[in-house]
């Protein structure tokens, strides 16, 4: 029963639609995928190849030396040297080998190579080799061989260990939570009471306050920063307390989220059925009781929508945190820490990507878990003219 069904009947070729949506999804996903993959890669590999090659093995050509002729055993008429081209701890798969620098991949791994003068060499994929000669080996040193080795992709969680402990991202994570959780919960309660008053109580100036709230939704944060910074500094000097504190940023975030909160909640609360509230009043319930017992439980969807907005906004905010909390390492939130790392760790992508991924992890979990409420809140906030 939707308008698009009409288009479907006329129909562009369906395949094109599927392919273009697939293409859009890939384009939208690739940037995030890039840092996710990179954050698990070995720092040396990050700088030597693009992240999109992370899942294929990297081939490289190296040289190795076989064991000394003194290690040769005599088997009938032949002398044999065996061993492994890999040193202890080294791994990989041998693809090809050769004995001349001009042709380092002359022979396939696992196939006997005739080196002339009665010598044959087999290097297997696992690195073990058998070097045979139909007489005693004459040279003093082991023979040099060139190898094409495929190293399997290696992934590590080391980057996460590094940033969480030594780069202060763990501390910042806690700081971000300390900022975001109270900044989400405090304004909801205050806004809900205000929204109830603006929906179900009669008093002079109500229309004016609603208009003011709607107007304040779009007031740019920039307008508030200078006077508030001055005010905070004065309060700090006057009472001898730090001007940049968690309490300060909680109040700031609560106030900045307040207009939208009141607007969204009022839209919802004003739309509750009149009969319920009237009958409760007739039964002698006070406004306080009506609010706590009836309005608050019924408004759960709107409360959830707003709290998701507010949480995402406070968690992702950089400007308010920089102004009201400062850039001290002890109080740095994740976005601030990330910004600082961008300056100091310019090319260290293993650090940047792991930090970035930690900072976007929480919002993304919130997003996928509560997407329904987020969409509902967006529609309530925007379609009705906000």
């Amino acid at each position: 029963m939707n308008a698009v069904a009409g288009l479907r009947r006329i129909g562009l070729p369906r395949l094109i639609v599927h392919l273009s949506v697939l293409l859009i999804c890939i384009i939208w996903l690739i940037p995030t995928l890039g840092i996710l993959v990179t954050s698990f890669r070995d720092p040396a590999q990050i700088t030597s190849s693009g992240w999109w090659t992370a899942f294929s093995s990297a081939s490289q050509t190296t040289a190795s030396r076989l064991a000394d002729p003194s290690a040769a055993r005599q088997e009938g008429a032949n002398y044999v040297i065996t061993g492994s081209v890999f040193e202890a701890g080294q791994g990989g798969t041998v693809r090809a080998f050769g004995t001349r620098v001009a042709a380092p991949a002359e022979f396939q791994a696992g196939q006997p190579a005739d080196l002339g003068e009665g010598e044959t060499l087999i290097v297997n994929e696992d690195g073990s080799y058998v070097y045979t000669k139909n007489g005693p080996f004459e040279s003093e040193r082991g023979r040099r061989v060139y190898l094409t080795i495929a190293t399997p992709p290696t992934f590590t969680t080391q980057n996460y260990n590094t940033v969480l402990t030594s780069q202060g991202i763990g501390q910042s994570f806690v700081n971000s939570l300390t900022v975001a959780v109270p900044s989400t919960i405090i304004p909801i309660l205050i806004a809900a009471f205000a929204a109830y008053a603006l929906s179900w109580m009669e008093f002079p100036g109500r229309a004016l306050i609603i208009a003011m709230v709607v107007g304040l939704i779009v007031v740019p944060l920039q307008m508030s920063l200078i006077p508030l910074l001055r005010m905070y500094n004065e309060i700090g000097t006057f009472f001898g307390v730090p001007s940049r504190s968690y309490a300060g940023i909680w109040l700031a975030h609560s106030a900045f989220g307040m207009p939208l909160a009141i607007y969204l909640l009022r839209n919802y609360i004003a739309g509750l059925p009149k009969e319920i509230i009237e009958s409760a009043r007739v039964d002698g319930a006070s406004d306080f009781e009506i609010f706590i017992r009836i309005v608050l439980p019924l408004s759960f969807p709107a409360l959830a929508s707003f709290s998701i907005f507010q949480f995402l906004w406070t968690w992702n905010d950089l400007l308010v945190a920089m102004v009201f909390l400062g850039t001290n390492r002890e109080q740095l939130v994740l976005t601030g820490a990330l910004n600082a790392l961008l300056g100091s760790m310019g090319g260290r992508w293993e650090i940047l990507t792991a930090s970035a991924f930690i900072s976007i992890l929480v919002p993304i979990i919130v997003f996928f878990a509560l997407q329904r409420y987020l969409v509902r809140g967006l529609l309530a906030g925007s379609v009705k003219g906000g």
């Binding site: 939707n2 698009v4 009409g6 639609v17 999804c25 940037p31 890039g34 992240w51 999109w52 501390q171 806690v174 939570l177 300390t178 109270p182 919960i185 304004p187 109580m201 008093f203 229309a207 208009a211 003011m212 709230v213 709607v214 107007g215 939704i217 007031v219 740019p220 944060l221 920039q222 307008m223 508030s224 920063l225 200078i226 006077p227 001055r230 968690y246 309490a247 909680w250 609560s254 106030a255 900045f256 307040m258 207009p259 009141i262 406004d287 992702n316 400007l319 976005t335 990330l338 992508w349 940047l352 930090s355 919002p363 919130v366 996928f368 997407q371 987020l374 967006l378 925007s382 003219g385």
Partner: protein
Amino acid sequence: MVSQIVSAVGVVIAGVFACALYYWLSDKLLQIVFPVPKENVRTASVNLNRRAVVRPWLFLGPALILLGVYLVYPVVATFILSFYDRSGESFVGFANYRWALFDDQFRQSIFNNILWLAVVPAACTFFGLVIAVLTDRIWWGNIAKSLVFMPMAISFVGASVIWKFIYEYRGGNETQIGLLNSVVQFFGGNPQVWIAMPFWNNFFLMVILIWIQTGFAMVILSAALRGIPEETIEAAVIDGANGWQIFWKIMVPQIWGTIAVVWTTITILVLKVFDIVLTMTNGQWNTMVLANLMFDWMFRGGGDSGRSAVIALVIMAAVTPIMIWNIRQANKETGGH
């Protein structure tokens, strides 16, 4: 760290408790101050009326105080500060405005902001509309929508790291690990330092915001598209309209109001764009925008409140028409009540 978590949890509980306590106590206080005696009907009705007069303000009180201190007062104060010197102490008339008029960096910022305003809302709305139409036609459309919508949850700073990695440039003969340079190289081009190319780098920064905001436009427009009555489409089909005509002549005109809302919402966001520019270039290579210039002047050389107030007022002035329009709409809805 543990103590910080404990104290944060404590504050949350205490804060919520204090809020609840305020509302509960103020309600109790109201009942004590204006008692409703059973034996005296006259006093009872007078006091009930008085309670009804006072109670809304008790409910509204905390919200109004927060709005007043953090939003209304600062707007007035910023306006006043714009006429004062850098420390906000002596009156300088229009000197700060005159400075803005002739400052190169300010002009650059205005130009860049206009560029952002011209590109980002249009691009987001266009892509959002296209993706909404396409995803509504396929069975896995909701999954696709989620993926396009997801960047909405990512912070601007996080998104900047993500895209900086795409624009990454490595000099000399090093392997290009940035996706964009690698693609350019694949097609035979030369790798570039994308974010340091004056003028064009603005567009590379805009891509980030478009990537984030298209999902928002898509969600809202998709809901509006579903609200179109099917009869209008069927009538057009019977009249022999093709898909293209139906889209442009039947569907788009019916969601025109929603398109306007999406456009203005993103416009407001663009006017305030700050994090992306700060983290990507910090205004270097001619990418400065108003919000960043303002922040810069707030702290540059000990801070200049006069000049940064002027810049804030310019942003405010740009938002004002939208604000007035919103208030009018809201008044229409509530019927002035």
